[in-house]
């Protein structure tokens, strides 16, 4: 299969494959397994699996790579079933968290390895390796050993080695986890650029949501072995479908209660959900999620100016942190609810001190209604 695939003209671009994961289950006895995971990854798409550690995202990746076999379900690449095919015959590129470069080989030999395995002609190998090293900007390091390179450089070598044989699918398992924050941000841009140039389909695993938001076309949010929601960054932020997603992606205030007649009843207080995204069954436990930037905080003395249509809650400031563009304020209501709000720098000063009384208000159309437990 890969033999013919490699007889393509000498460019670094490969067309991305279409990966379909359907109802895959893998249990381990303890946790870390997956239950009924289904994802369709479109050709050329950059899809990220995001979730807390142990939520099953790496397990899914290992199932696709072939290091694990699913108990149930099917995994196909371009229509061909992968289950039962050993990893070395799947033709899938993989980048590991700890780089996994071969320490006894030079950078060049590392990148050449998948080509040698495939018995490609020497001259063709040479030009493919050179092109791959150029794409990751490490041409000058070809003759060095991995231990002589920095973490970021080693990860670029691992990337070059994973795509040099033009896999239709590239898997990355927290590739930036071992790097410091600054380098990580630079590498995010670098990896996105390289993947766009290659045109390969990418499945990327991370627990860092900023990374996921910055790099991906779509994101699958994992929780306890299941996918909670699959969508674009904006879908997940603006239109979360579950409480977990609302809580995990970005900051938010979560008000729990029961849903009745277009409103959420929270400790006897009816909060309108008119125009809110999402729907729940009448009389069921529900929660309203509001992003910090959608909340307005006014001093308790200025409540007269609040329009009738907006929801209001009285609260006490517990903490205010200066963030540069705004202040992050945490407030607590009499019922113990914690509210996470942003206050503009020019807001009245009587709002920033712990103990100050304030009224929090929001437009119900800017809130999201999700089922609660």
């Amino acid at each position: 299969m890969t033999q013919t695939q490699l007889r393509q003209p000498l460019t670094m671009t490969a067309t991305g494959g279409e990966l379909r994961i359907a109802n895959v289950r893998k249990s381990y006895g303890n946790s870390r397994g997956v239950e009924s995971v289904s994802i369709d990854v479109r050709p050329g798409e950059f899809l990220t699996m995001l979730g807390p550690s142990g939520s099953g995202k790496t397990t899914t990746l290992n199932l696709v790579a072939g290091f694990l076999d699913p108990d149930e379900g099917s995994i196909t690449l371009d229509g061909k079933e992968l289950s039962g095919v050993p990893p070395h015959l799947r033709g899938i590129g993989m980048v590991f968290q700890q780089y996994a470069l071969f320490p006894h080989m030079t950078i060049e030999e590392n990148v050449d390895y998948p080509l040698r395995v495939r018995k490609i002609h020497r001259a063709e190998r040479k030009s493919l390796v050179a092109a791959a090293l150029e794409l990751v900007q490490l041409t000058d390091y070809a003759k060095r050993k991995p231990s002589e390179l920095s973490g970021g450089q080693q990860q670029r070598v691992a990337l070059a080695r994973a795509f040099v044989f033009k896999p239709r699918l590239l898997l990355m398992d927290e590739p930036l986890g071992a790097l410091d924050k600054k380098l990580r941000e630079a590498m995010q841009i670098e990896i996105t650029r390289i993947c766009r140039e290659l045109g390969a389909t990418v499945v990327y695993v991370t627990h860092d949501q900023e990374e996921a938001l910055a790099m991906s076309d779509r994101i699958a949010i994992y929780n306890a072995g299941r996918i909670e929601q699959l969508g674009t960054a904006e879908d997940l932020y603006k239109r979360p479908e579950t409480l977990f997603v609302a809580d995990f992606v970005g900051e938010s205030t979560v008000i729990k209660g029961s849903y009745a007649k277009g409103a959420l009843v929270h400790h006897g207080r009816s909060l309108s959900t008119q125009g809110a995204h999402g729907s729940v069954a009448e009389g069921s436990a529900a929660a309203v999620v509001i992003r910090p930037e959608d909340l307005t905080v006014v001093p308790a003395t200025q409540t007269a100016a609040i329009p009738e249509a907006l929801n209001t809650l009285e609260a006490t400031v517990t903490k205010c942190v200066y963030l540069g563009q705004s202040r992050k304020c945490l407030l607590t209501t009499a019922t113990g609810l914690v509210i996470n709000a942003r206050i503009p720098l020019h807001a009245p000063p009587e709002l920033f001190n712990p103990g100050d009384s304030a009224t929090v208000t929001w437009d119900p159309a800017n809130s999201v209604l999700v089922p609660s437990d």
């Binding site: 050993p86 070395h88 899938i92 320490p103 395995v117 080695r161």
Partner: protein
């Protein structure tokens, strides 16, 4: 790291060190003796007894026999030790701890017990005094050393490298040849050197299991010490010691090089 050690402690340490090493080194001047009698301090200086050692068939054939047996023991121990270490480190099965104890038991058990047991088994099998029998016996005590050295090397080897190799298209056999084997070679060499050394100066099993035609160097030395005390014995001791020191030095050098190679 150097610390300030009190002078008295330094002297004490030096004396203990000397006491440990002097009885071993005493054979070197004795081997250059000019007198036909083995005694300390030696009289005069000559290389005569070195000549005797290398020309007298009793000594030279025993030395060659020892080399042969040590080499065969090394090969057999490497094969068994590598297989066992791979199974124990990479394999997934229950009961690893008891198996580990079983593998290491020959170096914990008193060798003389093993020798008596093997003596009766070998006489029943009629392989007493054979090269093969001795190689097998030496392998029993040398193979745990190869196992220890190799399992350490395999534990230090990141299994993600083997996964990476598979994801790049390499079969299990290709991965073992190109990735695993080169990376555990220092461990393999260290194990081989220890196995060779173990067989090279082994006396207890050899006394029990050698016969009149197949004798190793340590056994001939043991015979000689009871019959005629010629300085050739000191020559043999010196040569046994030199070979051992050189091999252990090699093993230590490989060990330090391995550490230096780590990123």
């Amino acid at each position: 790291m150097t610390r300030n050690i009190p002078l008295g402690l330094k002297i004490f340490g030096g004396v203990v060190g000397m006491l440990l090493i002097m009885p071993t080194l005493v054979v070197i001047p004795m081997s250059f003796s000019a007198s036909p009698l083995l005694k300390f301090p030696p009289e005069g200086f000559s290389l005569h007894w070195y000549g005797v050692f290398f020309t007298d068939p009793l000594w030279s054939s025993a030395a060659l026999r020892s080399i042969q047996i040590a080499a065969l023991t090394t090969v057999l121990s490497l094969l068994l030790g590598t297989g066992t270490a791979l199974a124990m480190i990479r394999g997934r099965f229950r009961g690893k701890s008891p198996i580990q104890v079983l593998i290491l038991s020959p170096i914990i058990m008193p060798i003389v017990v093993l020798a008596v047991g093997l003596y009766f088994v070998y006489s029943d099998w009629k392989i007493l005094g054979s090269v093969g029998g001795l190689v097998l016996a030496h392998t029993v005590i040398a193979y745990p050393l190869v196992y220890i050295s190799l399992s350490t090397a395999l534990k230090a080897l990141d299994s993600k490298l083997e996964d990476a190799s598979a994801s790049l298209g390499a079969s299990k056999a290709y991965t073992f040849r190109r990735i695993t084997l080169p990376l555990i070679t220092p461990g393999l060499l260290t194990g081989a050197l220890f196995a060779f050394t173990m067989s090279w100066d082994e006396l207890i099993l050899s006394i029990f299991l050698t016969g009149p035609t197949v004798k190793t160097l340590p056994v001939v030395m043991w015979d000689q010490v009871q019959t005629e005390l010629s300085p050739t014995l000191a020559v043999a001791a010196t040569i046994v010691m030199l070979v051992t020191i050189v091999l252990i030095m090699c093993a230590l050098l490989i060990g330090t090089r391995r550490k230096a190679l780590k990123p």
